[in-house]
Symmetry: C2
Subunit: 229 residues, 2 copies
């Protein structure tokens, strides 16, 4: 694997696309790359981060521990996205736990590099800010969904969302492997309810199930479901 930032194709996908050659060299020098396996935690809620992480490949879930002990999946991230920049920029502890959903490689860029870049490069700071603004928009949409939609509607919504952001494999199955419990933790319901609703969707012909793999068969219908039809 090429560990040279200048040639990294992933860079184009995130705020680092605004960083020019000279600065990139500095980053490249100070960064390190780690390999993580499914289930491994990159950092935990409450941790004091020493830098930010850039996903070279793979997918992660960002979770928050509720007082009842359940974990809420707040967001998913994939190849090319950054994590930890919120904590580093606001100089606070991590408020989310980041866990790998599959085997992957992550680049670590030390805090000082990021902050220095933020101060010296207004394109970079603008990009970071825009990306936080987008996250905020999505989070607000998510609040409205959680509050206004029932479990069935939220499941339909999530399935469409998973396919949209993760894409499909060559057989048409959504390209992410989630347990029923993880799906439940994302939509905010009991695992049993998720299992039951998935079976219903299957019976009604909206989806095909093959173990943990899910294929959407009737996206129009699923879209209608999300809106309560």
């Amino acid at each position: 694997m090429d560990s040279n930032c200048e040639k990294c194709v992933i860079r184009d996908l995130n705020s680092l696309n605004s960083v020019m050659a000279d600065d990139l060299k500095d980053i490249s020098k100070s960064k390190s790359t780690v390999h993580v396996k499914r289930g491994e935690v990159i950092f935990s809620e409450g941790a004091s981060l020493k830098g930010i992480y850039c996903l070279r490949n793979g997918k992660c879930k960002l979770t928050k521990l509720a007082p009842n002990g359940k974990e809420q999946i707040v967001r998913f991230i994939k190849k090319g996205e950054l994590v930890g920049h919120r904590s580093v920029i606001s100089n606070s502890v991590a408020h989310l736990t980041v866990t790998a959903l599959e085997e992957m490689d992550v680049c670590f860029i030390p805090k000082q590099e990021v902050l220095e870049l933020f101060r010296s490069n207004s394109d970079f700071s603008m990009e970071i800010t825009k990306s936080l603004a987008e996250d905020l928009d999505e989070a607000n949409a998510s609040i409205a969904n959680m509050a206004q939609k029932n479990v069935r509607e939220r499941l339909a919504e999530s399935l469409l969302f998973f396919e949209r952001i993760f894409g499909t494999d060559n057989e048409g199955y959504i390209s992410v492997t989630l347990t029923r419990e993880e799906i439940a933790n994302a939509i905010g319901t009991a695992t049993e309810s998720t299992i039951r609703l998935l079976s219903e969707f299957k019976k009604e012909g909206f989806i095909t199930l093959a173990g943990k793999k899910i294929r959407l068969e009737d996206k129009v219908k699923l879209q209608h479901l999300t809106e309560g039809y």
Copy 2:
């Protein structure tokens, strides 16, 4: 009312606290102030904003229209806070509707001023970014609350939240006037459920109700409620 930014006490409360005398003069020259009444909309979802707004006093609700036609209150803002900076920075349309909850004065600062400031003043851009980061944290916490807590727990949580951010009047009542429907729209439940639960809380001695005014009588108990005790 003093319309001079240099002397504005509100400025200390938001990202503009990082703006120095010279820049402030420019802002002061280009800004305008408007008076709005309860129920008036400052801007709507989908609008293209020509600038950002700073609340000199009063309170607003930020809402999002759900596909079922119901409005979801996503956030409250009060004296000193900015709105519209998300849209202006990310150069997109407003994704929320801002409505006054009481009579108030709002300062309008044109887009160009804000963007110019963002580029030229890295303290200001850092402050704006931090404030977005904070909003994002709160939004994530809110997602977890909506998803993991039941309506009773969310109501207890919201009452404590309202008192915390809006304070109390001289009789101890929470200093914000919300209809039962608005409370319902904030916690994501039916208006009738909110009414019933408020009555229960009253009967159980946790709160006192006097029309729309609410006084918290047992905050420890309410706090326990939010955690499911």
